[in-house]
Amino acid sequence: MTQETDIREGVDRETVETVQNMGSYKYGWETEIEMEYAPKGISEEIVRLISQKNDEPEWMLEWRLQAYARWVEMKEPEWALLDLPKIDYQDLYYYARPKSMVEKPKSLDEVDPKLLATYEKLGIPLKEQMILAGVEGAENINLEERQVAVDAVFDSVSVGTTFKEKLAEAGVIFCSISEAIKEHPELVKKYLGSVVPQTDNYFATLNSACFSDGSFVYVPPGTRCPMELSTYFRINAENTGQFERTLIVCDKGAYVSYLEGCTAPKRDTAQLHAAVVEIVILEDAEVKYSTVQNWFPGDEEGKGGIYNFVTKRADCREPRAKVMWTQVETGSAITWKYPSCILRGDDSSGEFYSIAIANNYQQADTGTKMVHLGKNTRSRIVSKGISAGQAQNTYRGLVSMHPRAKNSRNYTQCDSLLIGDKCGAHTVPYIEVKNNSSRVEHEATTSKVDDDQLFYCRARGVGEEEAVALVVNGFCRDVLQALPMEFAMEAQSLVAISLEGSVG
């Protein structure tokens, strides 16, 4: 048995230390940094301003304005099982960037040390910190063997992307979306909005109008991306919405694995996060997209926290395209998120693995949509929902077999785990089958954390909270195994941390 499988099997030593040494939200500190803000609120002027700040071409501004015009006509969706507080969209900042980023710093000395310190606290190594902080030439510093390229988004702007040159050698484009709009307009024009149209839904449309930055990836035909790509999102500024937009295009026969992490400071007031992720997958290509979402969940009484309204969709546009979504959702006061797969190409396949943890007063309404359009398409859904405290956790999923999607198959497994007697777990599966050669399977279970299991662990010397983490990590094992190594470790400790205070 190797060390690797050992770590994947459950909680490891570091997790245990993490749990014991940490407060309930590790990333709750804020960085005091001089920020440049656009005025509060959203209007056509603000949309123009954001476009201008990013130095965008005319076509991009037009696209944003179309979205804005549509958004003002739209209403917030109400179908989710969420107790949604009224959001005042005019009381938010839609654009904030560290002042030090206005001019690119030339050396480490010129970088705002607080920005560097932020990344250090987040555990990003120094050389990467330099690159993230935008130090020119930092990429040429002899880098140790690293396998993950990082794009970091701080409030509204991308503050740096690492390993660009090494990736460029392989022909992979990995940069901020604002840069892509300028440098690769033909790709952005062709694919932006092609999976999630400007008018898709209330939050996606708002994002289309006012997204400030995000990441762009293009993997050329036949290329296996030489390293994992990662975007790190952090909301720092108060009353600021984060609206990032990610576009990933994986050309014929290519492969990429993409990781996304998120944190935010602890604040009394709620903050809005409305992101859009679009993935285009062409013939025989494969994309793995993993998220560890750890936005501030609000405090024990349910004050503050991030409202997370995210539209994520992958389009398996051509035959044999493959996509795999893996998400670990532990943060946010409210989560509204349904990473979906459009299985358009014949023989294409989509997988969705999810762990959603809701503790205290958190609310999560999350799941996936598997839209089978092509023949012989396959999908698999494994969802693990954990509710503790007063939280409500809903799995909402759609499996749709269209008339042309002959001989297609879906397998869905939804397991819910309850900790305590004041929380709720809900499963809302929608199934539509419009041909008679396809097969859909749905299995669901609901259980409580077993006292016997906890006592057994404790009788062996494992403390109560660690015992809960151990049992819950076991419950989530199928999904944790789907995550890349680095993320699996982080996810395990997050599971433990987010359940702190849920027993006893």
Binding site: D6, E9, Q453, C457, A459, R460, L470, G474, F475
Partner: protein, 256 residues
């Protein structure tokens, strides 16, 4: 090593009294056996000592060395050196046996202020122990007790005991549900762990386990207390004549 004095225990939710002034002393390095009819309070005693919820101690004490066990959380009792081999070992789906062992061992080491074992050190140790106990490497990889046969579950308890190296081991009907061969394997494991620093309290219904794990002292328990204490011959006597005579001598009937 273990000193139980005048222990009175009732169920937390009911008025049912289970232990009624139990006294028991197990010396360091000795093996004591407790036998007794069903419902005599043997398993309750083991649960109360290890700290399971649902019981209320109304009087008495239970000390491990100088430590009062009843004041401690279950995990603190384990770190202090108490080990209970469960009558029904619990399944924990998705948690690898190795992970479980390592988490438990390091939690105890940490609680005692000792250095935690690295993955490499742990692996070496667990492999060596498994080999001594003739435990298949495959059993280490599977989730804790999930899909284990009765014999495998009990052997897994002994492996945990071997890894955690407790001072005081309580075996709660470890022979229940085992065939003769499995029982011998388990007993061999226990015997391999006998040492001058380690004490055992073996709870059993049957003399046959005591053929393999030879006790120094045998107690007969009924009605929530120890009725009689003697040498190994007491177990043989019970095997031959049943409990009726002993119970009658204390004014109790067997059908109780």
């Amino acid at each position: 090593m273990l000193e139980i004095k005048n222990l009175h225990v009732k169920l937390e939710d009911e008025d049912k009294v289970i232990l009624k002034g139990m006294n028991l002393t197990v010396e360091t390095g000795k093996v004591h056996a407790i036998m007794g009819p069903n419902g005599s309070g043997k398993s309750t005693m083991s649960y109360v000592l290890s700290g399971r919820d649902g019981y209320e101690v109304t009087d008495g004490s239970a000390k491990l060395g100088d430590t009062e066990l009843l004041d401690l959380e279950p995990e603190e009792r384990a770190a202090a050196g108490l080990f209970l081999a469960f009558q029904y070992p619990v399944e924990i789906p998705g948690v690898g046996n190795m992970t479980f062992l390592r988490t438990a061992l390091n939690a105890q080491r940490k609680a005692r202020g000792e250095e935690e074992l690295s993955a490499g050190e742990f692996l070496k140790l667990v492999r060596a122990k498994a080999k001594t106990l003739k435990i298949d490497a495959d059993m280490l990889k599977r989730p804790v007790n999930v899909g284990f046969s009765g014999g495998e579950k009990k052997r897994n308890e002994i492996l945990q005991m071997a890894m955690l190296e407790p001072k005081m081991c309580i075996l709660d009907e470890t022979d229940s549900g085992l065939d003769v061969d499995a029982m011998r394997l388990v007993a061999d494991g226990v015997n391999a762990l006998r040492s001058p620093d380690r004490s055992f309290l073996v709870i059993t219904h049957y003399q046959r386990l005591l053929d393999h794990i030879k006790p120094d002292v045998v107690h007969i328990m009924a009605d929530g207390r120890i009725l009689q204490t003697g040498g190994p011959e007491l177990a043989l006597e019970v095997e031959k004549n049943g409990y009726a005579e002993i119970l009658a001598a204390h004014g109790l009937t067997e059908a109780k």
